[in-house]
């Protein structure tokens, strides 16, 4: 059985993209997703919106194990091209509870082409403001941030990811209909 995607594919993808662009341009600041498609079994509505906006046959996507109807729907709507393992993927979707592959094992780009790197879409439970302090491009001074449901050593791994700049991965955190961007430029202090 196929599930429907965006109601207005052109407009909804455009509005979702602008949320994404905002999220990465102003890291750790919450952006609302204005157009939500119906949820797919095993995926939040927000994750589905991001996949419909970003994925097509020109990029590779790594997915955790998901119900068949979800995979069939995603394949139908995006033409997605699944990566055999996380290290080869351009995009990775981590649903709640999926173990985080070590960030250092993912595509981080090359010295000449650091853009050829992975983007992680990570489902979390909820946003809060009491785990870390972020700074860097897109943040006027510093920004307090936190996310329930992130793997325990995520922030520690993130510091190593940031230290590799300009190589590295970028992440989008998703809590249902809200997202926060975490580009590799964001410096994180725990506490």
């Amino acid at each position: 059985m196929l599930h429907p995607a965006f109601k207005h594919p052109v407009d909804d993808a455009q509005q979702t993209f602008r949320s994404l662009l905002d999220a990465l341009a102003q890291p750790l600041r919450l952006s609302a997703l204005p157009c939500l498609p119906p949820a797919l079994p095993g995926l939040s509505r927000g994750s589905a919106a991001l996949l419909y906006t970003l994925i097509d046959r020109d990029v590779s996507l790594w997915l955790p194990s998901l119900p068949d109807d979800t995979l069939a729907s995603l394949r139908f709507h995006t033409g997605m091209n699944l990566a055999a393992n996380p290290a080869e993927a351009d995009f990775l979707l981590l649903t709640a509870g999926t173990p985080l592959p070590p960030l250092s094992t993912l595509k981080a780009g090359s010295d000449a082409y650091p853009d050829r790197s992975a983007t992680l879409l990570i489902e979390i439970e909820a946003f809060n403001q009491d785990q870390v302090i972020g700074s860097g491009p897109g943040i006027p001074h510093t920004r307090r941030f936190g996310a329930d449901g992130l793997p325990g050593d995520f922030w520690h791994q993130w510091q190593a990811n940031h230290a590799r700049f300009p190589l590295g991965v970028d992440a989008i955190l998703i809590a249902d209909d809200r997202i926060a961007g975490l580009p590799r430029t964001t410096r994180i202090q725990e506490g």
């Binding site: 970003l54 010295d111 853009d115 491009p137 897109g138 430029t185």
Partner: protein, 284 residues
């Protein structure tokens, strides 16, 4: 009023091309000042006339956007009119000449005088995205220089200017270091506009269609114009004020008014100049 042409997809580009551009833009924002290669498409306007900016605008514009297009700071220059009309035909979005009302500003060669706000997006048309190109013709080589953050060539060039002329002899497209890492071209804006890039609350996007590169400066990002301790960076100043609005702090265009060589200086930013005059009329 130009009518929307329904034969074309919203924004002219197909959805696949928009997705390619959008993915590129997200990486560009994540690596400030780094030039992301992209599969530039052939647009119905000539290369060198803003195809990079047009493709970026087409990939981000939505129904609720308000678009402003300027060339040389003015909304009524022919190329600005032409690009604005193109977007009216293929998107039907509202357009404006007022900087403060615009959500999206596509520009060639200027940054408006009116301070930009958070949430606004500037799209720059870029002829040559590689700041090192005139010093090193090969793309393979300039990629290596960026990879190693090896920008000595540029410092030597600027210093040679100083030795020869007593000044840095670059007055526009003045190179900047973005986020302390990548040397970037601010596009051919006069160096007068360079300080407006530093820690701007607006998102700055740069598109070079012919060269097939795009790059970005996120809001609140350090953008430093190259300089030396004994030769600090300085912008252009005029001994005149605008002949129309009296502004003493805007970039001025020089206009030759007769065969005897008389000149007049007026604001290059036509919206800013008009707003100043309206303000004065209100007070008078």
């Amino acid at each position: 009023m130009t009518e929307r042409q329904w034969q074309y997809n919203f924004g002219f580009l197909d959805e696949n091309t928009k997705r390619m551009l959008r993915r590129g833009l997200l990486k560009a924002v994540a690596i400030p000042g780094y030039q992301v290669p992209f599969g530039s498409r052939e647009m119905p306007l000539p290369y060198g006339w803003g195809t990079g900016g047009i493709q970026l605008t087409a990939s981000i514009i939505g129904k609720s956007d308000v678009l402003k297009v300027i060339d040389q700071g003015a909304d009524d220059t022919t190329n600005a009119v032409n690009i604005r009309r193109f977007f009216a035909r293929v998107t039907g979005v509202a357009t404006t000449t007022r900087t403060a009302d615009a959500t999206l500003i596509q520009t060639r060669h200027r940054i408006p005088e009116t301070a930009l706000c958070e949430g606004q997006i500037m799209v720059f048309q870029v002829p040559e995205p590689e700041p090192l190109r005139t010093l090193e013709a090969s793309e393979v080589e300039t990629r290596k220089l960026h990879a190693h953050q090896e920008y000595g060539l540029m410092h030597v060039k600027l210093y040679e200017d100083i030795a020869r002329f007593g000044h840095v002899a670059t007055s526009y497209d003045y190179p900047v270091l973005v986020n302390g890492r990548y040397l970037a071209s601010p596009s051919p804006i006069p160096k007068f506009d360079n300080p407006k890039l530093d820690r701007s609350p607006a998102l700055m996007l740069f598109g070079a269609g012919r060269e097939k590169r795009l790059y970005a400066i996120p809001p609140y990002t350090a953008v430093e114009s190259l300089a030396f301790e004994d030769h600090p960076f300085a912008v252009q100043r005029w001994p005149h004020v605008c002949a129309l609005c009296g502004s003493g702090d805007s970039y001025l265009d020089e206009i030759i008014t007769d065969d005897a060589g008389h000149r007049l200086f007026v604001c290059s930013d036509s919206d800013y100049c008009q707003a100043q005059r309206t303000l004065q009329e209100g007070m008078a």
